[in-house]
């Protein structure tokens, strides 16, 4: 059975009641693995508390950090500090050099672009080529598509169409996430697949963007973060009893 994944549930972790409501709703509409973005200095106990809420509901929790660096040095510093603390690392690319650096860095899992500024969406052929070599995925948040109207939505759809075509031609994995800040912006995986026709993404690719692609990112990172991991392709199978 397909496991559907929403890697960007933007619930407020301060309001645990709303968080639980959104997690429960996600479970009801078909998601079994949820990524919640947390601040870089988030307490480990708090992470465990959220993990417990998720396990009570029946979903698998993925810790995620959204980095929004001002320059490439800040990005590299943040990656050095935070890569091993979070299962998924996303970079919000606000400038061309940051987008380039994030696309070529293997420690980055997801590339996000601000939807408010169409000129700041730097995902072009150059980024796509770098991202395809480093297995970095391109993330599409669907919440803005639901909240925006008229000309702004048209412009966003046009950007999505151009970017998905670029990603597809370079073999960059695409991840579709909800980006929902409240439960009325949550939609099921098949709804997202249907919405993706608006930017000419075929339904099989869209379904894999809410299941196989994010799942493989999480599994790959969990393997890397496990104490048994030595190097790519090399892991500890058994330890000698003391």
């Amino acid at each position: 059975m397909t496991r559907f994944v929403d890697l960007h549930l933007c619930a407020s972790f301060r309001d645990l009641k709303l968080l639980k409501k959104m997690i429960t709703k996600s479970y009801t509409i078909g998601y079994r693995l949820i990524g919640i973005p947390l601040p870089p200095n988030f307490d480990r106990d708090e992470i465990e508390r959220i993990r417990k809420i998720c396990s009570e509901v029946g979903v698998d929790f993925v810790s995620r950090v959204d980095l929004a660096p001002k320059n490439t040095n800040e990005l590299l510093g943040s990656l050095r500090r935070l890569r091993r603390r979070f299962e998924v690392v996303s970079v919000i690319c606000t400038s061309k050099p940051i987008a380039r650096q994030a696309a070529k860095d293997r420690r980055v899992d997801l590339l996000s672009f601000p939807f408010t500024k169409p000129r700041s969406r730097f995902f072009d052929r150059a980024e796509a080529e770098l991202a395809s070599e480093s297995l970095t995925a391109f993330e599409i948040d669907m919440a803005p598509l639901l909240t925006l109207e008229g000309f702004l939505r048209t412009r966003l759809l046009s950007s999505f169409r151009r970017e998905t075509a670029t990603a597809k031609s370079f073999g960059v994995p695409i991840v579709i996430s909800s980006g929902a800040t409240d439960d009325y912006l949550l939609r099921g995986p098949h709804d997202f697949s249907a919405l993706s026709i608006l930017f000419d993404m075929d339904s099989s690719l869209a379904l894999s963007a809410v299941s196989d692609v994010p799942l493989s990112i999480v599994e790959r990172n969990r393997l890397k973060l496990s104490p048994d991991f030595v190097a790519p392709g090399l892991r500890v199978v058994r330890r000698k009893d003391p």
């Binding site: 639901l146 098949h190 709804d191 249907a194 919405l195 026709i197 339904s203």
Partner: protein, 108 residues
């Protein structure tokens, strides 16, 4: 001989703080299709609201098979009605009403 138009039936769960009248549901669906695909797209959809249960907030909608993804996208794009948040979740899609009833138990 004209070819029979293949259709699909959609079971929908409407989630909102208040219950809507049937006309309001129809209006929300038509507005969403018109907004996203225009009059040309809406003309191909073959939309028809077969049943609506106000209490349960469940509905059954019919559309043409060719316009299924269009209608599904339009339903998913509905976020507001009368300035109040509302969500249309597609529960099941089927080729016949009987199969839809079997799958979702929406239609009696």
């Amino acid at each position: 001989m004209t070819q029979r138009v293949k259709q699909r039936y959609l079971a929908i769960q409407i989630e909102s703080a208040e219950a809507f009248e049937e006309d309001e549901v129809k209006d929300a669906i038509w507005s969403a299709v018109l907004q996203l695909f225009g009059e040309y797209g809406a003309s191909k959809a073959g939309l028809f609201l077969i049943e609506y249960d106000k209490k349960k907030g469940q509905a059954v909608l019919r559309c043409s098979l060719k316009a299924l993804s269009m209608v599904h996208a339009s339903l998913a794009s509905i976020t507001k009605k009368k300035e109040k948040p509302v969500v249309f979740h597609v529960l099941r899609i089927s080729g016949t009403l009987r199969a839809l009833a079997k799958k979702s138990r929406v239609v009696d």
